[in-house]
Symmetry: D2
Subunit: 130 residues, 4 copies
């Protein structure tokens, strides 16, 4: 993805909150491979809430930089799961982080297990990854 | 309201999309006077959609500038209504604009008349304004 | 571009301010064809400010919608120029708008003519367009 | 501060990236007490960069919620400092977090010590806090 002008701030760099939006975009692209992805989950009445985030900024990103966000899903347990991220520019890691999530029933907002088909699909995908 | 650092961009000024957020904040403060305001409208199953926006930028706003957004509701007709805005800094108008809206049923998203009590309250408020 | 989750609001649709960010992204992609594009302009000490925006929303955009933003530059005159936009989803126009801009000297922030090479390049590109 | 409508997402709650903007706003208000605050620092040629952020979300915040963000500066050492935050609604903590920062020379972007007057002022303020 490219750093949008609207994502920069008066320091001339991408605002630090933008990384959470990029992480989210990466999660959604990650889930897209699986049976309808995040929109599919939502149609099944399941929401994924964000319970914790952590980002380390190593080098600033600038307007129009072309970035690659690597992500993988780790620690799927019951209703909870986590993602890890590395943001790269020209092959150099400029930031990394992780986010914690929980599946909830969209009506009651109470925790609900990650659907079995998704656990299996993600586990298979991650075990096949290099 | 004060210009947030996150609202600035790499030109060192408030990003032009921020003004629409300030307009929205001003609309919500405007409606707060009336019977539960915008949250109240939503609880009655009515959503206000935005159908058109227009902004003229005269002077840039900078980080930490203290701004006042003047707004008034005009042209209430059936399901439709409009707001006008002037953004002031130290008594000088630095931007102005207007937005067009329509009330819709939150379930069907079809147009529905602005509730009578709100029409009356706004008309009374605006006719009392200097 | 795809509608990001962070761009949606509690009405379940893309927030109306997001369209200005999409317009900006489209402008930058449009300029990318010409000699360094917008980053190139900035390196030459020229900033493009936004002086006016107008958007008409016809149909709401939803999370994960795949949108195409058509844009073209019109009315290049002295320091000023305008862009027109149409936002399409599945070939249907769901919004349109225009934005007005002025080139300024990045140091003095005073108006400066759009560089001749850019006027010629844009005029050639637009006259070649269908 | 009140949760803005633009800060909500299609889950009907405040988007998790918004909290970083609220934290930033709280830092700026915190610094406002000291000799020109953050704008003052910037005028002295010092930028404060963000090197790390962490947020835990306990309860979702909703549109128009009135929130209080408590913050304090901790661990001032050389060029580095940290802030802690608690976000409260009606006296209940709904989120907390911390952010790490470094002072840099605005021209070279190299680390520079937090100005002595600011260290002293913050230390005095924090030791006086209950």
């Amino acid at each position: 993805m490219r750093v949008r002008f609207a994502e920069t701030d008066a320091q001339g760099i991408a605002h630090h909150a933008s990384y959470l939006v990029w992480f989210e975009t990466a999660r959604i692209e990650y889930l897209r491979r699986f049976d309808g992805g995040y929109p599919g989950l939502r149609q099944q009445g399941i929401e994924a809430t964000t319970s914790e985030v952590h980002v380390r900024y190593r080098q600033p990103a600038e307007f129009d930089d072309s970035l690659v966000v690597h992500t993988r899903c780790i620690d799927l347990r019951g209703a909870r799961f986590r993602y890890e991220y590395v943001v790269e520019r020209d092959g150099e890691a400029i930031a990394d982080g992780w986010t914690g999530h929980a599946c909830v029933d969209a009506k009651t907002m109470r925790p609900t297990r990650v659907p079995g088909w998704l656990v299996e699909a993600i586990t298979a995908a991650e075990s096949a990854a290099p």
